[in-house]
Amino acid sequence: MLKPEIAIVGGGPAGLSAALSAVRQGAEVMLMDRDPALGGQLVKQTHMFFGSKKEYAAVRGIDIPGQLLAALEEEGADRFKPYTSTTVLGYYEDGVILADKEEQALLIEPQKVIVATGAAEKMLPFPGNDLPGVYGAGAVQTLMNVYGIKPGSRVLMVGAGNIGLIVSYQLMQAGVEVAAIIEGAPRIGGYLVHATKVRRAGIPILTSHTIKEAYGKESVEGALICNLDENWCAVPGSEQDMPVDVICLAVGLIPQTELLWQAGCEQKYIPELGGYVPRRNEKMQTSLPHIYVAGDVACIEEAGSAMVEGKIAGLFAAAELGYDEKVEERYKSYIHELEELRAGPTGAKIRQGLSRLNGGAEIC
């Protein structure tokens, strides 16, 4: 049985930042990730980040894990125990975590747990959505940005949020044609700066459009798209045929909360935050006091805020163990960073979701 002071599940931006924050306080941290390399989905984010300087604005996502790991090395390499290629399989009532590390079973009984398992991509229902060639936007990024392989030759992007816009631009950089970006809503969801960039490159963004059907024999050969009216109903006769060999779905993410369900954390359905999310206080502590959360598992947002949430979770998990140096001061600066990241109209949805999570008016 391994008995680390703090076990962190997930080595993406939130988990790595939590580790750094806890190690800085003086705690001993075991960090598990199912991938052979740490960094989570940052490994495919080739674009530069926005937001706060402290959260790596103007740094490319792919370069962030290296910087965090270097900081961990500096703060206390002896207190940081990374377990890569390690998949957490279960969390038991007695507080024991079961994990698989390259076919070896590990039993872990930590004093505190930080769950930073991130999110999974959403699917969209339409005939033919099971054909090879219908890929999640993350899969397209993995193929082209991690392995340097083109997903196809002509892509229909579904979803004009930030992911849809950014991945479209990355497809162009990889030399792949993007036939169009379609968006069911009447408005582009992502930042205008990304939208302008792809439009300038000649990619049409069709709002109030959806995919009606994907067709093809053994894999995608094309898609039928159509217009949506103000009630999100297909406009008869508006179908257009788009010959494409890839349909890329960028229709949102859903928090990967399975471990939290297993552990028995209280959760609430908050659509603005991505679905079921754990109730947590300002310390990122769930309804079970020894379990903390950070990043997309707590609320679908951006890597910047995931990293700050990680810092908060790591700070308090360590503080509860007695490593409480400068807790107030650090917390104040982190909360200020989060407020900045969530300020303005782009953060309105998140602010509303968080207020509902903390007992605001129930709509659903």
Partner: protein
Amino acid sequence: MRIEDHPIINFKRGKPVTFYFDGQTIAAYEGETIAAALHAAGVRVLSYSHNRKRPRGFFCAIGNCSSCLMKVNGAYNVRICVTPVREGDRVEIQEGRGDIIAKA
């Protein structure tokens, strides 16, 4: 198809390896997953659905969705999107749900 020229990424490919997919010999690089290597070789159909035999490819590429399960070196239900390719691997389209006990 592999990307040769990229404005911001310099792809460092590993040592060349070869593996077998349903009798064909396929060239790949160490460090690639089986799914990436098959895709680069133009293989998009990885299995067929159990009841209606509809073709299946991968979807998530990070080991979440189980859309890419194949038989690798005799073992069933291998998530090829997160399994690194190795020299001499024998990759096959899996028939049915497979045996949970791996056969060497």
